[in-house]
């Protein structure tokens, strides 16, 4: 029985077991294609960086870096043109700041409720519903910011002096947009805080609220912070809500009741205007995009680092 497997006498075993490169050539081809697939994302990054920085370089031949960072006015359309980025950065900061003022407390409260209070069944229903808020296309939120938030809620409350395009309406919809990011990620972090930590606190006579606020939240803090940083990155990069609802007036203000313009809002405005290649408008688009890319990149990296640190502690 044994001998029939290798009938060729001495050397037959070696013959049977040796590598046959030709037999596997189809698989070499497949491996090559898989590697090619994996390089697509590297190429994408390479192209993004190349496009942003080569076009920006052209822009900075016309407008000095000093003007870009030291001028305080963003006035690309009328003479005398002026390209001080801070009005756009401030516009972004304005809407994101007020969005966080609303989204962070509500998101944290939601995360605490889901992780520490809610019955498993409630949690199973509520969490996916909340997460579905993240799936709503932002152009839909943008429509609501103007037609519902400003016209049906803010103007009746604050009077008709409120500009129809104001940063508050954009902030409110941005807050709704990032709420699931904060709530869901923070809840994940809180849920992975070890049980014995909670039990130790309960054993010392702490109430549920005290356990949640004094034990669970501090233990999950880096995960919670990561969720907030990620939410910031998303809000900074969001375009439609701010482009439609916040206005198109670059302004150095933190007031939520004025019309402003964000970096993304400006970019969309140029995009709509079909700026001809080679004009200063077209190039300024890339300079602003590069700025936006660097800022969101920084927040994303910071968020990832915090998540990794949190994982190291508890997993």
């Amino acid at each position: 029985m044994q001998q029939t497997l290798y009938p060729g006498g001495p050397g037959a075993v070696h013959q049977a077991l040796r590598k046959r490169p030709l037999k596997r050539r189809g698989e070499f081809l497949i491996m090559g294609m898989l590697v090619l697939c994996a390089t697509v994302s590297l190429v994408t990054t390479g192209l993004i960086i190349y496009v942003l920085f080569s076009e920006s370089a052209t822009f900075f031949r016309e407008v000095s870096l000093a003007d870009f960072f030291l001028e305080t006015e963003w006035q690309p359309l009328f003479d005398p043109v002026s390209f001080g980025i801070w009005e756009l950065v401030m516009g972004t900061f304005n809407v994101v700041f007020w969005a966080l003022v609303m989204a962070v407390p509500i998101g944290m409260a939601t995360a605490i409720y889901l992780s520490e209070y809610a019955a498993p069944r409630t949690r199973r229903v509520l969490k996916p519903v909340l997460e579905s808020l993240a799936g709503v296309p932002t152009v839909v939120y943008a429509y609501f910011a103007v037609n519902v938030i400003t016209l049906q809620i803010l103007r009746p409350l604050l009077g008709n002096d409120l500009p129809i395009f104001n940063s508050l309406s954009a902030s409110i919809m941005l807050a709704v947009m990032v709420l699931p990011t904060i709530a869901s990620m923070s809840e994940d972090a809180m849920a992975s805080v070890p049980r014995d930590l909670r039990e130790a606190a309960y054993g010392l006579g702490a109430t549920r609220l005290e356990v949640a606020v004094r034990v669970v939240v501090p233990a999950a803090l880096s995960g919670v912070m990561a969720s907030i940083l990620l939410a910031i990155a998303r809000a900074i990069g969001e375009t439609m809500i701010v482009a439609i609802a916040a206005g198109s007036t670059p302004r150095l203000t933190l007031s939520p009741l004025e019309s402003i313009q964000t970096m993304t809002g400006y970019m969309l405005q140029v995009g709509l205007g079909d700026a001809a290649r080679g004009t200063i408008d077209y190039q300024s688009l890339f300079a602003v995009a590069a700025m936006l890319f660097l800022i969101t990149f920084a927040f994303n990296v910071a968020s990832t680092m915090l998540v990794n640190r949190f994982r190291e502690v508890y997993e």
Binding site: C37, S41, V51, E55, A109, Y117, P137, Y143, G237
Partner: protein
């Protein structure tokens, strides 16, 4: 006479702390319902405004200067074209990348770079993808603001999130299944092809459907490409200009308020949300159905 009674009922400070804790439940619950409440109100408002406009004519008419004659025909057709092309472009690349990372990649610094790069790409704002598309596909490759340029841009945008979802699905496949196959003398690729991929497929499908639903609602990236033209014909190939439902919503939203286009925007939002929710529902059903096996 009176035996010592040990009172375990909370009094004084402890009672106040307990009351605070009990009260907090309702405050926190109320906060959790804010998001749901906003969603419900927005849904109500949209349906209230747009439902009456949602007729067969609305779905089958081309855009128009007159709100009551304008419809979604060209934007629905454009959306289907661009999403179809996006799936064809993104799916093989995303699955290939995930397979390479999880199954074949040597564990070296290059792999770390690829993984970090994907995580960061997933966080790049969509408008940046629009700028990439504008510079590379529309201008450099001279594709113009065509369906192909749009699909390439959206594919670049959804590949990172699809890869991450597919990686997750592949990681869930039990090692014992791979061992069983390899021990029978199957090669690593045969094992992946016959066992790992079929087993990971529901998870991969869920990921791609969610990514497509993201692409279906994408507006900023496509506007940056210049996909903002008036289309009053049916698309027939990849090299034509196009428009999509979210672009049409944007278009109607920013029209002067008196002309009645806001009602059209509401009706179009109902259509878009129905599509997006259907995709999400399909993803959820796939995930639930295969979780128990």
């Amino acid at each position: 006479m009176a035996a010592p009674v040990i009172i375990l009922r909370a009094t004084g400070r402890v009672a106040r702390r307990q009351a605070l804790s009990r009260g907090s439940r309702w405050v926190l619950l109320a906060a959790s319902l804010v998001g749901v409440g906003v969603l419900a109100y927005l849904a109500y408002d949209t349906i209230d405004t747009g439902a009456s406009r949602l007729t067969w004519d609305f779905l089958t008419s081309y855009p128009s200067r007159f709100a009551e004659r304008a419809g979604l025909r060209s934007s629905i057709i454009g959306t289907v074209w661009v999403l179809g092309a996006t799936i064809v472009l993104a799916l093989p690349v995303a699955i290939g990348t995930a397979i390479w990372i999880e199954e074949f990649a040597p564990k070296n610094p290059l792999l770390t770079v690829v993984k970090l790069n994907l995580a960061n790409l997933a966080g790049v704002p969509s408008i940046i993808y629009g700028i990439l598309g504008l510079a590379v596909f529309v201008r450099f490759a001279s594709l113009g603001p065509s369906i192909l340029a749009g699909a390439l841009t959206l594919a670049a945008m959804i590949i990172p999130m699809t890869v991450i979802a597919a990686q997750e699905a592949i990681r869930q496949v039990p090692q014992s299944l791979r061992d069983g196959s390899l021990a029978l003398g199957a090669t690593h690729w045969q094992t992946v092809r016959h066992h790992v991929l079929p087993q990971a497929l529901p998870g991969i499908m869920t990921g791609i459907i969610l990514a497509v639903s993201r692409a279906a609602g994408e507006t900023a990236a496509l506007i940056m490409l210049g996909a903002f033209t008036f289309i009053a014909w049916d698309n027939t190939n990849l090299f034509e200009d196009f428009t999509t439902v979210p672009i049409q919503i944007y278009n109607w939203t920013v029209r002067p308020r008196q002309q009645g286009f806001q009602v059209n925007a509401s009706a179009a939002i109902i259509v878009l949300m129905a599509a997006v929710l259907t995709l999400n529902l399909i993803a959820a059903v796939i995930r639930e159905r295969f979780r128990h096996e």
